[in-house]
C-alpha cells in the first residue's frame, strides 16, 4: 500500500514535468491563437498577454472578408485536398492489394521500383515535371496539382503493411467461390480494412492540405491559389499586420487540428505501424 502510494506520487510528479515540456510544443500555437485575437499594438507586448485584454474578433472578419478572396482560397484547398485524397486512397489501395495479395510475375521487382522512388526528393524532378506539365496543359490547373500528389509511395507502402496482415485463407475461400480479385477487393478487403484506409485518408488529407511546394511551382493564377500559398503571400504583402497574419494562419491550420483530434487514434496508430512521414 505504502509502496503503491509512493509510486503514484512519483508518477504524478513526472506527469507534471512532462506537461511542462509539452507546453513548449503547445506554446507557439497558443501564442498564434492569442495574437490573432489581439489589437495590432498588443501583439508583441511583454510580458506576453496570453489572454487578450481586448478581444478583436474583427481580425478574422478582416481576413475572411477583406481585400483577398479568402473564401475562394479556402474552397480551392478543400477541392484539391478532397479530390487528391479520394484519388490517392483509391490508387494506393488497389496497388497495395496487388502487391500484397496477388501473386503475379515480377511483383517484387515492381514493388522495389516503387519503393525506391521514395529516395527521390520532389525538388530534384521539379524542372522536368514543370516542362511536362506545360506540354500536357496541366500547368496552372487544379487537375495537375491533384495528379501530382495522388501516386503516393508512402500510401501504397502503408496500406500494403496493413493488407499483408489479412489471412490468405479469406482470399482463397472467396476465390473458391469463383469471386474475381476485384470482387474480393471491394467486398472482402475494403470492408475489413476501413480503419487502415481511414488512417491513410486522414494522413493524405493533412499532407495535401499542408502542401505548399506543389501550388508554389505548378499554379500561377491567383484565383486558383490554395490556402497555404495565400497565407504566405498575405504574410509577405501585409508587412506589419501581424494580428491579421496570425488570424490567417490559425484559419489555415484549424481544419487540420480538428481532423487530427477526431482521428488522432488512427493517425498515431498508422504512423506507428507504417513509419510514414509526409
Amino acid at each position: 500500500m505504502n509502496r503503491l502510494r509512493r509510486l503514484n506520487t512519483k508518477k504524478v510528479i513526472i506527469t507534471i514535468i512532462m506537461f511542462a515540456i509539452g507546453l513548449l510544443f503547445l506554446m507557439p500555437f497558443i501564442w498564434m491563437l492569442s495574437a490573432s485575437l489581439k489589437a495590432e499594438t498588443n501583439v508583441f507586448s511583454y510580458p506576453i498577454e496570453w489572454i487578450p485584454s481586448d478581444w478583436k474578433w474583427d481580425n478574422y472578419r478582416r481576413v475572411w472578408f477583406g481585400e483577398q478572396p479568402f473564401i475562394l482560397y479556402y474552397w480551392n484547398s478543400i477541392k484539391v485536398t478532397v479530390l487528391t485524397t479520394l484519388l490517392s486512397v483509391t490508387v494506393s489501395a488497389l496497388a497495395a492489394y496487388g502487391f500484397s495479395k496477388i501473386h503475379f510475375k515480377g511483383r517484387n521487382v515492381l514493388f522495389l521500383i516503387v519503393l525506391a522512388t521514395f529516395l527521390i526528393p520532389a525538388q530534384a524532378i521539379l524542372v522536368p515535371q514543370f516542362m511536362m506539365y506545360r506540354v500536357l496543359n496541366l500547368f496552372d490547373t487544379h487537375l495537375g496539382l491533384i495528379l501530382l500528389n495522388s501516386f503516393s509511395v508512402l500510401g501504397t507502402f502503408l496500406l500494403r503493411q496493413f493488407f499483408s496482415s489479412i489471412q490468405d485463407d479469406y482470399i482463397d475461400a472467396a476465390k473458391m467461390d469463383g469471386a474475381s480479385h476485384f470482387t474480393i477487393f471491394y467486398k472482402v478487403v475494403v470492408p475489413m480494412m476501413v480503419p487502415a484506409i481511414s488512417t491513410y485518408a486522414i494522413l493524405r488529407f493533412i499532407w495535401t492540405w499542408n502542401d505548399y511546394q506543389g501550388p508554389l511551382i505548378f499554379l500561377r493564377s491567383d484565383h486558383l491559389s490554395t490556402i497555404q500559398l495565400a497565407i504566405e503571400r498575405f504574410s509577405t504583402s501585409s508587412g506589419e499586420l501581424y494580428s491579421l497574419i496570425m488570424a490567417g494562419s490559425v484559419s489555415a491550420i484549424l481544419p487540420l487540428i480538428i481532423i487530427f483530434i477526431i482521428g488522432q487514434k488512427y493517425v498515431i496508430e498508422g504512423i506507428a505501424r507504417g513509419g510514414v512521414k509526409g
Binding site: 510544443f25 501564442w31 508583441f44 496497388a95 503475379f104 530534384a124 496570425m246
Partner: protein, 315 residues
C-alpha cells in the same frame, strides 16, 4: 515407414494438383495483378521515373528555360565542373550536412520522452497528441509564427532572454551565424512528435520479461535502459536515422517560407539552391545537374547506411 511413404505420396499428389490449378489460373492471376498495380505504376513512371531521365539528359546541356529547348547545347560535364567552384552551392551542401545534426538530436530527445511517457505518466494519449501537434501543422503557418517568435527586437523569445538577464540575445533568423541554428531548432521541434510515436511503438515490442529478469538481478533504471532498451530499439533507431537523413535533404518548404536561404546563403540547402537556379535564374541545365548530384549523394548515403546496419543493429 509405409505410413510415411503414403504421406509423401499424398503430399506430392496434392502438390501436383495445386501446381496444375496454379498454372491454369496463372495467366488470370498475372493479369489481375498488373491491373491492380497499373494506376500506381503508370503514375509513378510518368511523374517520377521519366522526369529523372529527363533531368539526367538536361543536366548535360546549357539549357535556359525561357529560350526554348531548341537553343540548348550539349555541354558534357561542364555543369558538374561548375558546381565544384560555385560557392553558394558548396555552402548549401555544408548547410545540409549541418542540418543532418538535427536528426540524432531529435532522436535522442524523442527516445528519452518515449521511455518516460511509456511507463511513468498519466494521460499517455494526451501527451502523444500534444507532442504530435507540430507534425500535423502546416509548415507555412509554423514558419510564419517562428518568424515572429524569433523576431530580433520584439519577439517573445528575445524578450524572455532579456528579462532573465541576457543583454545581447542572438538575432536568430536575421543573423547569418544563428539562422541555421534557428532552422535546426524548428526542425527538431517539428520532428519530435513523429520520432516519439515510432519509438513508443518500438517500446511496445520489447518483451516485458527482459526487464523482469534484469530487475531480479537488481539492475538500475539506467542499466536497464542501456542494456535492454537501447539495443532492443536498434532497428527502430536505424529506421529513424535512415529516413531522417533522407528527409533532412528534402527540407524545402521551411527554408522557402522562413528564410529564402538567407541571410546571404547561410540557410540555403541543396534543394533550395536547386529551386532558385531553376525557377528564379531559369538555369534549367545547371539545376538538373544539381538534381542529379543530389540523387547520387542520397544513393551513396543510403548504401552506406545499409552496409552499416549489419554492423550495429541487433535483431
Amino acid at each position: 515407414m509405409a505410413e510415411n511413404e503414403a504421406t509423401t505420396a499424398y503430399q506430392s499428389n496434392t502438390q501436383k494438383q495445386q501446381l496444375g490449378r496454379f498454372k491454369s489460373t496463372k495467366f488470370k492471376e498475372n493479369f489481375a495483378g498488373y491491373m491492380f498495380v497499373a494506376p500506381m505504376l503508370i503514375g509513378t513512371t510518368v511523374l517520377i521515373i521519366i522526369p529523372i531521365f529527363i533531368a539526367l539528359a538536361v543536366s548535360f546541356t546549357d539549357w535556359v528555360f525561357i529560350s526554348g529547348f531548341q537553343s540548348a547545347d550539349f555541354v558534357g560535364l561542364e555543369n558538374f565542373r561548375n558546381m565544384v567552384q560555385d560557392e553558394p552551392f558548396i555552402q548549401s551542401v555544408v548547410n545540409n550536412i549541418w542540418l543532418i545534426l538535427a536528426v540524432p538530436l531529435t532522436m535522442v530527445l524523442s527516445l528519452v520522452l518515449a521511455v518516460v511517457i511509456n511507463k511513468n505518466v498519466y494521460f499517455k494519449g494526451f501527451f502523444k497528441v500534444i507532442y504530435f501537434m507540430p507534425y500535423i501543422s502546416s509548415i507555412v503557418a509554423i514558419a510564419i509564427v517562428f518568424q515572429l517568435l524569433f523576431h530580433p527586437s520584439y519577439g517573445p523569445i528575445n524578450e524572455f532572454l532579456m528579462s532573465i538577464g541576457i543583454d545581447n540575445p542572438p538575432k536568430w533568423l536575421a543573423d547569418s551565424d544563428w539562422a541555421l541554428v534557428s532552422v535546426i531548432i524548428i526542425t527538431v521541434w517539428t520532428s519530435i512528435g513523429f520520432n516519439l510515436i515510432i519509438y513508443l511503438a518500438g517500446l511496445q515490442n520489447i518483451p516485458a520479461d527482459l526487464y523482469e529478469a534484469a530487475e531480479m538481478d537488481g539492475a538500475s533504471a539506467w542499466v536497464k535502459f542501456k542494456n535492454i532498451t537501447v539495443p532492443m530499439l536498434s532497428p527502430t533507431t536505424f529506421f529513424l536515422l535512415i529516413t531522417g537523413i533522407i528527409y533532412s535533404f528534402k527540407s524545402f518548404e521551411l527554408i522557402v517560407v522562413l528564410t529564402e536561404g538567407g541571410p546571404g546563403y547561410s540557410t540555403s540547402v541543396i534543394v533550395y539552391y536547386l529551386y532558385e537556379q531553376a525557377f528564379e535564374n531559369l538555369k534549367s541545365g545547371y539545376a538538373s545537374a544539381i538534381a542529379i548530384t543530389l540523387l547520387g549523394m542520397l544513393l551513396v548515403i543510403t548504401a552506406i547506411q545499409w552496409i552499416g546496419q549489419k554492423k550495429w543493429v541487433n535483431y
